[in-house]
Symmetry: C2
Subunit: 232 residues, 2 copies
């Protein structure tokens, strides 16, 4: 099943308009024709089925036949992740976290961060394709923060879980009840090398709970994906 | 912490010998010198600490000072995965499954398989680096099968779980008890497009239990990683 994306601003008066990459994908790659049916999501829960009425060089006009609204699935998970040095691994982690249902992804610089710049254009188009691929109707937001502190001040979460290698075994299990009962849970994963000791102290002072992701040492992107997978 | 790999055939009379890539990695990349200490795993549970006695162009000789044996952690998980078309996605899934503790990875051709050839040399060196990276002492085996049937006949497993999109909601949860009580659990994930209906019938006839990995449609490699993550 092929799904296309048009933000709410492109949906008006019973018509949706595909532009740019989405229009090219429909008309050139998928070879859609006037009269064909297709499905569109608006990234904010809107899910439309419609029929193509007009294809031009730059846009595809779709008459909406059926409109539905999906609410954001619970639990509402925010993934906070240290910026990973290797671009392919960072992008892989972001793509997988979105497929697995992360509503928001916050990348941050921390003490052990090696690389600082992030190709946001690539991450944003990756967020759209992961949303469509996994049949979701909500577009995940991606944000970059200069520091862990700034991120913690900016992101609302009433529950914070921190993946950490060195966890007292008796305390290391994920408290699923705290996640179900929260409005918004923030899952935190460090960059390569993990969080520093002072960052861990800061995080626990702010109410973060340390959790273990098993006995093996996981790469940063593996930890992010495995952490998200705990809430399937 | 840097760990090196030497198979049991290279460990004799209180000495371990690093060869090929491992020797180059130690002497050239890590700039190890005679007298330096290092850690070696043999891929079969052996875990050695030793001191470098001799570095030549092609080998590094290590005198073993401490030897331990680790048994394979339980549960014993085998990941059976349809061959994925894109090489980077296939390799990513294999690497992550090993980090997460898969003892054996069986790649197979199935009805929806598009691509058939696999670069085994790359997967084998990836298995070694993932073992070292995740601080494990056991090397995962990787096998390729011409068909799902041949794989099922060749691989011993007393418990089979099959990731499937269309699962009756009442039955879709993973039975963790069946995994803990089994000698060896086989986790099966299809290629892109999943298993065909007749494959699913075959698998359930052979005792396979269908399990759901949540409401989102997951890419094949995401399903494999998320499936493995359920057993952390």
């Amino acid at each position: 099943m092929n799904i296309f994306y048009a933000p709410p601003s492109q949906i008006n008066n019973g018509y949706a308009e595909l532009l740019d990459q989405e229009a090219i994908h429909a008309s050139k790659v998928m070879r859609a024709r006037e009269g064909d049916k297709l499905t569109i999501v608006d990234g904010e829960g809107g899910h439309y089925r419609g029929i193509i009425r007009r294809i031009t060089k730059k846009s595809v006009q779709v008459e909406i036949e059926d409109a539905q609204h999906h609410s954001r699935p619970k639990p509402h998970l925010v993934l906070g992740m240290g910026i990973i040095k290797k671009r392919d691994r960072l992008e892989f982690a972001v793509e997988k976290a979105i497929e697995l249902g992360a509503a928001q992804i916050c990348l941050f610089r921390s003490e052990h961060t090696i690389k600082e710049n992030v190709r946001m254009d690539r991450l944003e188009s990756l967020a759209i394709s992961a949303m469509k691929q996994s049949l979701q109707a909500h577009l995940s937001t991606i944000e970059v923060y200069h520091s862990l502190d700034v991120m913690l001040e900016s992101v609302f979460a009433d529950n914070i879980l921190v993946a950490h290698e060195k966890v007292d075994e008796a305390k290391g299990d994920i408290n699923y009840k705290s996640v179900r009962n929260s409005e918004r849970t923030l899952l935190l994963v460090g960059p390569e090398g993990g969080f520093s000791e002072s960052e861990i102290r800061d995080l626990t002072d702010k109410g973060g709970e340390l959790v273990s992701l098993g006995p093996n040492r996981l790469r940063a992107e593996t930890a992010a994906i495995a952490f998200m997978s705990q809430f399937l």
